[in-house]
């Protein structure tokens, strides 16, 4: 028998059966809709978190190696790093000298201070001491005004560049350029405002809620020598292999610190990759749990479909008898009911996707995170709903297909 012909007939029967029982079909579909909305929204949220993170991580720079005292991600090995010496500015300048002409080296150091402009105060804003090279390393440009210049650093100027959010909170609509603000006990003149970085929804660092001052000024104003711990950013001036740069930095740092070959490094090399890896394993676990929980709702929806398919098979016992009497084989009956449950579930899938798209739009409107319903998720949702339909339909369909035609014809 012709399979395509069979399929078309099965499809037609399935549709007419669903149309004949609209209310029932709608209720059954509702279970699947809820399941699909839950699953797709979870996946969308995951994608949103990921791209939000990547956006924020842009400020770290994908081609930059950071030398720090501690690794960014510590598991339970924190205590083994506890006795490491701080990185100081002299070491940073030595590293800069070693990479002269080959790489851009910029030391950074940070603390938190209250900011004040006239009567407005912002508490505990991260204040970062850096050099004029920071925009090159992190690809962050000023939106208005300028960034720190070489002379700001050299002459320890009280110059500050604001993150977008800080500028908004302190100055509102008025221009902050050349205004003077207080950082802790010191007065600084605003030279510029950085463009918006975004992507700070996850409780990670908010790159728009920072201010930047020359590192030399920082040391003079806030740097009790004992607490100084510098991060050194190294970016290869030509796009070379990042791991090669990493090895060179390690070598130079060991030289600067005069480490013997047998000694372990007493500093850490950090880069975006290690951050991404940690992020992905955490969020991956969250996603796995989320999908597990949401698939339970899909599973419950599937049980609803199975239930309704049993009812449908029983109701149409006589019809099955008629079809068998005039020549339908088991396979044809099986297909008919499988199609019916697959169609119910796929309809649920499509409606679920539409609703999930609505939710995604709302998330974006509220600016919670850069959520997007990707085509991949949509295709997955349709395929999953069809699979749920087939799995839920197989037992009822098999029951129908196995009916004895004589008994089925006698059924009232």
């Amino acid at each position: 028998m012709n399979v395509i012909l069979d399929t078309r007939e099965s499809m037609k029967i399935a549709l007419s059966a669903i149309i004949a029982n609209k209310a029932r079909g709608a209720l059954t579909t509702l279970g699947i809709i809820i399941g699909i909305v839950a699953v797709t929204t979870t996946m969308t949220a995951f994608k949103g978190m990921q791209s939000s993170f990547q956006q924020a991580a842009g400020a770290v720079g994908a081609d930059v190696v950071y030398v720090s005292r501690m690794p960014w991600i510590t598991m339970n090995d924190f205590f083994s790093f506890r006795n490491r010496p701080n990185l100081n500015l002299e070491e940073a300048y030595k590293l800069e000298a070693a990479f002269e002409g080959r790489a851009i080296v910029s030391p950074n150091i940070d603390t938190r201070r209250d900011l004040r402009f006239r009567s407005k105060t912002l508490d505990a804003i991260p204040v970062i001491g850096t050099t004029e090279k920071m925009p090159i390393i992190t690809n962050r440009m000023p939106e208005i005004g300028r960034f720190l210049m070489e002379f700001d650093v050299r002459y320890k100027k009280n110059t500050v560049v604001l993150g977008q959010e800080v500028a908004e909170d302190l100055f509102g609509q008025t221009s902050p350029l050349n205004k003077e603000i207080n950082i802790g006990a010191y007065r600084f003149r605003v030279a510029g405002v950085l463009e918006k970085q975004g992507g700070s929804t996850l409780g990670g660092p908010n790159f728009d809620r920072q201010v930047f001052i020359p590192i030399s000024t920082f040391v003079k104003a806030f740097g009790g020598r004992r607490f100084m711990d510098v991060d050194i950013a190294v970016k290869a001036s030509k796009m070379s292999d990042l791991s090669e740069l990493e090895y060179e930095v390690i070598g130079e740092m060991r030289k600067i610190r005069r480490l013997k070959p047998a000694e372990d490094d007493n500093f850490s090399i950090n880069k975006l990759d290690s951050l991404l890896g940690a992020f992905n394993s955490v969020v991956g676990a969250v996603l796995a749990i989320g999908l597990l929980v949401t698939s339970i709702s899909l599973f419950v929806g599937g049980i609803g479909v199975m239930n309704i398919m049993f009812v449908s098979v029983t109701e149409r016992t006589r019809e099955i008898g008629i079809r068998k009497a005039i020549g339908a084989k088991r396979r044809s009956i099986l297909m008919q009911f499988l199609f019916e449950s697959a169609v119910i579930c796929m309809a649920g899938g499509f409606i679920g996707i539409a609703i999930a798209a609505g939710i995604t739009a709302i998330i974006n409107k509220l600016d919670l995170m850069p959520a997007s319903l990707s085509p991949g998720i949509m295709v997955a949702a349709v395929v999953i709903s069809a699979l749920v339909g087939i799995v839920a339909g197989i037992v009822p369909a098999y029951k129908g297909a196995r009916l004895d035609p004589i008994e089925a014809l006698r059924y009232e």
């Binding site: 012909l5 008629i322 009497a325 020549g327 084989k329 088991r330």
Partner: protein, 258 residues
């Protein structure tokens, strides 16, 4: 009880036995039925309820298989076929007409008539032509897009007949075809069977009503799972087809014995 019908047999049953298990008891629905039905015969199977006529109809219709004995339809042995093969035989060789019409309620009547062809794997265009022709034959060409519940009982039974005919089956098997119809409509339906027989169709009626059985040219009576009688009607006994041509020398006027 052997029937000496000279026509070639469409179906042959030999010592067909059917037993059902009912709890611990064995019920003999058929206990040794042998029967030949030839091409273009018009047969009524009769008997009171419990006589085994439904069981015999199910076996003839390939809806069921005998416990023992042999059954061949169109020269092919049916007794040991599996479900899928039986479905195919029903599809190609048997046209069912039921007491309760048994149309698919949600499908229009054209689709109902097309259904055997769909399960037979026929292409759409040819299917459509055949189904329309069958509906014309039963006088319902103008109702093709109607649903069964928009038709009268007689019209529904005509749709069922069209569906039975559409694949040119070897036999039409009608189970109490007038049981749900008033007598006038019933007569119309029987007239339709008579016409089909005249056109060469082999027809088997299962009925308990004598006046319906009277349309047939041969009636087989069952009692307690056995054939009680198998008689040809008087008309049939005298018909040309039964007697066949006489040898030339016995024809009237041929005997020029000097």
């Amino acid at each position: 009880m052997k029937n000496n019908n000279p026509k070639s047999a469409v179906l042959e049953l030999r010592d067909v036995v059917k037993t059902y298990e009912m709890g611990n008891e064995q019920v003999h629905a058929l206990s040794g039925v042998s029967l030949d039905i030839g091409e273009n015969e018009y047969v009524a199977i009769m008997g009171p309820s419990g006589s085994g006529k439904s069981t015999l109809m199910n076996i003839i219709g390939c809806l069921d298989v005998p416990t023992s004995g042999s059954y061949s339809l169109g020269g092919e042995a049916v007794a040991n076929k599996d479900e899928s093969d039986l479905a195919e035989i029903r599809n190609r060789m048997i046209g069912f007409v039921f007491q309760t019409f048994n149309l698919i309620p949600r499908a229009d009547i054209l689709h109902n008539v097309e259904l055997p062809l769909i399960y037979g794997g026929m292409a759409k265009a040819e299917r459509r032509v055949r189904a329309e022709r069958a509906l014309e034959q039963v006088g319902l060409a103008d109702r093709m897009k109607h649903k069964p519940n928009e038709l009268s009982g007689g019209q529904r039974q005509r749709v069922a007949i069209a569906r039975a005919l559409v694949f040119n089956p070897s036999i039409i098997l009608a189970d109490e075809p007038t049981g749900n119809l008033d007598s006038r409509t019933g007569d119309e339906i029987m007239q339709m069977f008579d016409d089909l027989h005249t056109e060469g169709q082999t027809i088997i009626l299962v009925t308990h009503e004598d006046h319906i059985a009277a349309h047939a040219h041969r009636s087989i009576r069952l009692r307690d799972g056995k054939i009680e009688s198998d008689v040809l009607s008087a008309d049939e006994l005298l018909s040309d087809s039964y007697l066949g041509p006489l040898p030339a020398e016995y024809e009237v006027g041929a005997a020029n014995v000097g």
